[in-house]
């Protein structure tokens, strides 16, 4: 089942709901309205069409859209064929099939309009066919302000009085309100009625009587219809009927007393009381009966007879211009079509002047009613079907004062410079204006609209409209945007006149949507040869007129495209609606020229301060929104919703969820690839990063510690070689190299000093070397000590090293081995260690007895050092014959030179040093601070050779030389090998680093 759309909040409710789930609004009326609207929405209109009575023409139903088919079927089911749909030829519109779809459906919706006060179309049919029903006064409270817009138009318009004065006439054509205006732009064209009213001030209708559409049905309805029925009628329609029952005076009173809030602003603007109050007596008199005629109808008569009125083109609503242009081809078609399904009022128009051709050339008088301007609107294309319209047109003819609708008068007034040479009404100007607004340029030689032909044949005023065709450029500025074709190419393709018999005025452009109708009508004519039905509803799919496309804002289109047409997406409550249609007014309506407003004297809505009455947007208007209705996709959705179950316990129920649809609509969710779209560069960078991370996480190989084995082996080899070299000492008289024959000067000086010692000379020997150097110093000093022993000198030993006294005894003992005749106990005194080291040298130099009071053996012998036999007569250092310092340290030798040598005075100071201390002490010898010097084992050996007593020094000199040679060889060979291995071993390391 289709859901019910709440009229208040616009949200969808279940079909069984009695009140709106969201706002609590009762859905009784809405549900009724939805019921028939659901039928309109349903896509199975063909199925429903089969349920229609046999009287309906199946062909036409098959061609027309569903919603129209529904409306028409209901109309035909419940109501007899209206009289006014009978064409002068007696053909019914259904039979002819030329009745406009939407117009036919207007009558078909009457029964469903009960309880649905929104459906003005149904009210239209009800008013026509339910005259027998008693009509009660219309309770004002039941008239929604949003629905009475048209009735107010009629009520406010003094030109509508002729219609009221003739109750038998049908109500004014609802054609001025095509389905398109029900869209948000609906007010735009209605707003132009203000301009019409302003124009009417200048040119009132003269012959309102001539236009007498068949409003009898409406008059009866006004008088007899029960309030409940009247509630179903749209306000504008009831308002139309109401004045018909009243006198003009009463009508005026009613108009004046009507609450301003009960009518829309645009209508108030269109027909203010002041506007008509300013009417000239001529206009009033001229209007006569026709003053009750709606202004838009009066406009026809005025347009006919007011070729000289030169009403400004701005007063003409744009949509009428388009309708006028579109009417021309439709009128041409009407020649071949029997008048059928015309409303009464149109038939009446046709009947009044049956012989008056509606078309200039092709129209057949009497047989075919001229195509009224309404035919230019969707669904109304066959003037033959609209006798009332013919009558209206006839009445609009200048010779007869007809009740010309206001808008018809406006048509005539709009022509500032009517030209007879241009018989067609200048509806093309509307099209051009619309095209101009759309940024397009229409060629003036475009096809003339059909409506112009109708006017030309029906009335001179209509002809004046046609004459206005040449002035379209002047009046094109007033054309609204929605009249402009959206696509110029489309205009060119669609504005081709259907009938070549109709001569379109040059320079007249046909709007797209009119061309569509024209083409559709031609298709019908070719296929049927009867009354033209549009093959396609103007709202179907891409056939939607461009003016309707222009109406919709992009935002609305977006919403409409995304929301099902059955679901009202707008959350706007009806209370928020200030206009009959919650839409945006077109620019041409919002921007009413100030000069024009001043001319008409009609205060604008803002100026008057009148607020738009809050009105509920009729559900049928919402449902008839073209954009949503014509979108194929949306229609398809509707079809699924309205599908009737054919089997099972739910057979016959519509809207049952289809399991197979769900299963088929289900599709496998898309599987998205997880592969990244990575470029080569990113891939390489990622690889680098990955490598870096891998390098960080991978454990570093701990470099193996180099084995110490090779070093140890090498050291052992070195030691073995050195030991082997030292083993040469075991060889007797082994010597690698003989000592040089030349002795060093210091050695010779020392030798000479010793050799020159007097007998029993006292020699002071300072044994200041460490035990580690005893091996070298012993062999270096043994020759000198032996030489002293040979000289039988007294020797006193002193030392600044703690181990010195012991080493001195050791040295004496070793030398004494070779000179056993030398008595150590008598000839030597070991003064021991001087406390304080070198610090005590100065004291020892100045006072040796005080510095070294006891000898080393004093604790044993108890003999003080200076009382020892060898020390007898010695009190100071100057008492010594020679001072010899045995040292391995340059510092110790320097200390003796610095501290003792100055004190020695004439006592020579000589030194026996190690080989390493010789270079530092050699300068002191060269400077004369020391008088003799020998160093190292080589010096000892040379000293032995110099004395002629080869001893231990020469014995170990061969071993020393061999050891030194071994060391030299090891360093050279080992260095070369090491250098080679180092180069070869570093290359892999460098390669590894790289």
């Amino acid at each position: 089942m289709a859901d019910i759309i709440c009229p208040k909040c616009g949200k969808t409710n279940p079909s069984e709901a009695e009140s709106c789930f969201f706002c609590g609004e009762s859905l009784a009326s809405a549900g009724e309205g939805v019921d028939w609207l659901s039928g309109l929405r349903s896509s199975d209109w063909q199925d429903n069409a089969s349920e229609q009575p046999a009287g309906e023409e199946p062909l036409a139903d098959a061609e027309i859209p569903d919603w129209l088919a529904r409306v028409r079927s209901r109309n035909q089911d419940e109501q007899p064929e209206p009289d006014f749909f009978t064409s002068p030829s007696g053909e019914t519109p259904d039979a002819s099939g030329e009745t406009a779809n939407w117009l036919n459906n207007l009558g078909g919706t009457s029964e469903q309009s009960e309880g649905s006060a929104d459906d003005w179309l149904s009210s239209l049919s009800s008013a026509q066919f339910e005259e027998e029903k008693p009509q009660a006064p219309i309770p004002p409270a039941k008239e929604p302000s949003s629905k009475s817009w048209f009735s107010r138009l009629q009520r406010d318009d003094p030109h509508a009085s002729p219609m009221r004065s003739e109750p038998s006439e049908p109500p004014p054509m609802p054609a001025p309100e095509p389905p398109g205006p029900t869209e948000p732009k609906a007010e735009s064209w209605m707003g132009d009625l203000q301009n019409w009213g302003a124009n009417l001030d200048q040119e009132p209708p003269d012959q309102p009587e001539t236009f007498e559409p068949d409003f009898s049905g409406y008059q009866a309805e006004q008088g007899d219809e029960a309030p409940a029925v009247r509630a179903d009628l749209p306000d504008w329609f009831t308002e139309i009927k109401a004045p018909a029952e009243q006198t003009p005076a009463a009508d005026d009173t009613e108009i004046a007393s009507e609450a301003p809030e009960s009518r829309p602003d645009w209508l108030s603007q269109a027909k203010p009381a002041s506007l008509f109050a300013d009417e000239t007596p001529e206009q009033t008199a001229g209007s006569g009966e026709g003053e009750n005629l709606p202004a838009w109808l009066t406009g026809f008569s005025t347009a006919d007879e007011s070729e000289s009125a030169a009403a400004p083109a701005e007063g003409l609503p744009d949509w009428l211009r388009g309708a006028e242009e579109e009417t021309a081809p439709a009128a041409s078609v009407s020649d071949d079509q029997p008048p059928a399904a015309l409303p009464d009022w149109m038939q009446a128009t046709s009947a009044q002047e049956p012989d008056q051709p509606l078309l200039d050339e092709s129209a057949e008088p009497g047989a075919e009613a001229p195509s009224f301007g309404w035919s230019g609107f969707p669904g109304i294309e066959t003037p033959s079907e609209v006798p009332a319209a013919n009558e209206l047109l006839a009445g609009a003819h200048p010779p007869e004062p007809v009740e010309t609708p206001d808008f018809a008068a406006l048509f005539g007034q709009e022509r500032e410079t009517p030209s007879e040479a241009q018989p067609h009404p200048d509806f093309s100007a509307l099209t051009d204006e619309a095209a101009q607004a759309a940024g397009e340029t229409h060629a003036p030689e475009a096809e003339a609209p059909d409506l112009s032909a109708l006017f030309a044949t029906g009335a001179a005023g209509v002809a004046a409209f046609a004459a206005k065709a040449g002035e379209e450029q002047q009046t094109s500025e007033d054309l609204p945007d929605w009249l402009h074709p959206a696509d110029e190419a489309q205009v060119d393709s669609q504005t081709t006149p259907a009938e070549p018999a109709v001569e379109l005025p040059p320079g007249a452009d046909m709007p797209d949507w009119l061309s569509k109708f024209d083409e559709a009508r031609q298709a019908d004519l070719e296929g049927i040869g009867e009354l033209t039905f549009d093959d396609k509803d103007p709202f179907i799919d891409d056939q939607r007129p461009t003016w309707l496309q222009n109406i919709q804002t992009p935002e609305k289109e977006t919403e409409a495209s995304s929301v099902s047409p059955l679901i009202e997406p707008e959350a706007t409550s009806p209370e928020d609606l200030k206009t009959p249609f919650q839409v945006e007014l077109p620019e041409w309506l919002n921007q009413q020229p100030a000069g024009e407003a001043a001319q008409t004297g009609a205060p604008s809505v803002d100026e008057t301060g009148e607020e738009l009455a809050k009105a509920d947007l009729p559900s049928w208007v919402e449902d008839l929104r073209p954009l949503e209705a014509v979108i194929p996709g949306e229609v398809k959705k509707d079809a699924s919703e309205s599908q009737i179950e054919k089997a099972g316990p739910l057979a016959g129920i519509r809207g049952v969820l289809q399991g197979e649809d769900i299963s088929t609509s289900y599709r496998k969710p898309p599987v998205y690839s997880a592969r990244l779209n990575v470029s080569e560069r990113q891939r390489s960078q990622a690889a680098i990063l990955e490598n870096l991370m891998a390098m960080e996480t991978s454990p570093k190989a701990v470099p193996s510690e180099p084995s110490r084995a090779p070093a140890m082996i090498l050291r052992v080899v070195i030691a073995l070689l050195l030991i082997l070299s030292l083993l040469t000492m075991l060889l007797p008289n082994f010597r690698l190299v003989e000592l040089p024959a030349a002795y060093p000067a210091g050695l010779t000086a020392l030798h000479d000093r010793v050799e020159a010692l007097p007998a029993d000379a006292a020699v002071l020997l300072a044994v200041d070397y460490e035990p580690g150097f005893s091996g070298e110093m012993r062999y270096a000093a043994s020759a000198v000590v032996e030489h002293l022993m040979v000289k039988n000198a007294r020797m006193l030993f002193v030392s600044t090293v703690p181990t010195g006294p012991v080493l001195a005894d050791q040295l004496l003992a070793q030398v004494n081995l070779r000179r056993s005749e030398y008595l150590l106990a008598d000839r030597t005194v070991n003064l021991g260690y001087l406390p304080g080291g070198t610090t005590s040298l100065l004291e020892f130099a100045h006072n040796p007895k005080a510095a070294a009071p006891s000898a080393l053996d004093t604790p044993l012998t108890g003999i003080p050092a200076w009382e020892h036999q060898a020390a007898l007569g010695l009190n100071s250092l100057q008492d010594f014959s020679l001072v010899i310092v045995l040292t391995d340290s340059p510092e110790t030798g320097r200390a003796w030179i610095e501290q003792v040598q100055p004190v020695l005075s004439q006592v020579p100071l000589a030194m026996v040093t190690s080989a390493q201390a010789a270079p530092l002490l050699q300068p002191y010898y060269d400077s004369g601070q020391i008088q003799g010097m020998t160093s190292g084992m080589q010096g000892g050996a040379m000293y032995e050779q110099r004395t002629g007593r080869v001893s231990t020094a020469n014995q170990f000199l061969g071993a020393f030389q061999s050891g030194s040679l071994a060391g030299i060889l090891l360093i050279i060979v080992g260095g070369i090998i090491s250098a080679v291995l180092g180069v070869s071993g570093r290359k892999p390391a460098q390669k590894g680093k790289a």
Partner: protein, 202 residues
């Protein structure tokens, strides 16, 4: 005080012993130098005691006692006791030095020979450059010169002079070192005497 003592000792070097009238300065200098010698002797004793106590502490440590310290302390006490008992003049006691200390220190020198030889071999493996070559060459030359292996060629004309020149190179270097030492000692003495440096202030 340090400066005055220094100045007094310095004056003692400048005053010849013949100048009797300035004999008190020499006497004062002798007293001060005697104090210095005593202080140096005491300092050696203090050093010996400090060494003994340190090794006693290591020996008695609760965690990881040093076994070598035990040996040191034991032999220190033993040497001291034997020296006090036998006196240093006793030939048997002197064997402590001649039979122990002399071979030990001499063995260290022998090990040094092997180590230096090994290092000289690895020199070109660790360091490559001019200085390494110069160092190795100078070592070899002076080894040859010091060992007397070049003595036969010293008689050759030109060679003896060259070898003599080469042998004087270390003497020249030694003289320069001595000059530097002398200047450094003079400057240090002057700074102490002028009060610029006070190494004894702690």
């Amino acid at each position: 005080m340090a400066i005055s003592v220094g100045l007094i000792v310095l004056l003692g070097y400048l005053i010849p012993p013949e100048m009797v009238e300035f004999g008190f300065i020499l006497t004062l200098r002798s007293i001060l130098v005697g104090w210095a010698v005593i202080l140096a002797g005491v300092a050696a004793l203090v050093g010996v005691l400090n060494l003994f106590l340190v090794h006693v502490g290591r020996m008695t440590a609760k965690r990881n006692p040093d076994r070598y310290s035990i040996l040191l302390v034991v032999f220190f006490v033993l040497s001291l006791g034997l020296g006090l008992y036998f006196t240093p003049a006793d030939p048997q006691y002197q064997k402590v030095v001649t039979a122990i200390q002399v071979p030990v220190e001499t063995s260290l020198m022998a090990i040094l020979v092997v180590t230096l030889t090994f290092s000289s071999i690895r020199l070109f493996q660790r360091r490559k450059g001019t200085m390494a070559v110069v160092f190795a060459a100078s070592a070899l030359v002076f080894l040859l010169l010091g060992s007397g292996l070049l003595a036969p060629v010293q008689d050759l004309p030109g060679v003896g002079g060259l070898l003599a020149f080469i042998q004087r190179l270390p003497i020249a270097g030694g003289r320069g070192i001595l000059l530097g030492i002398a200047l450094g000692s003079l400057t240090a003495g002057l700074r102490i005497l002028l009060g610029t440096d006070r190494p004894y202030s702690g």
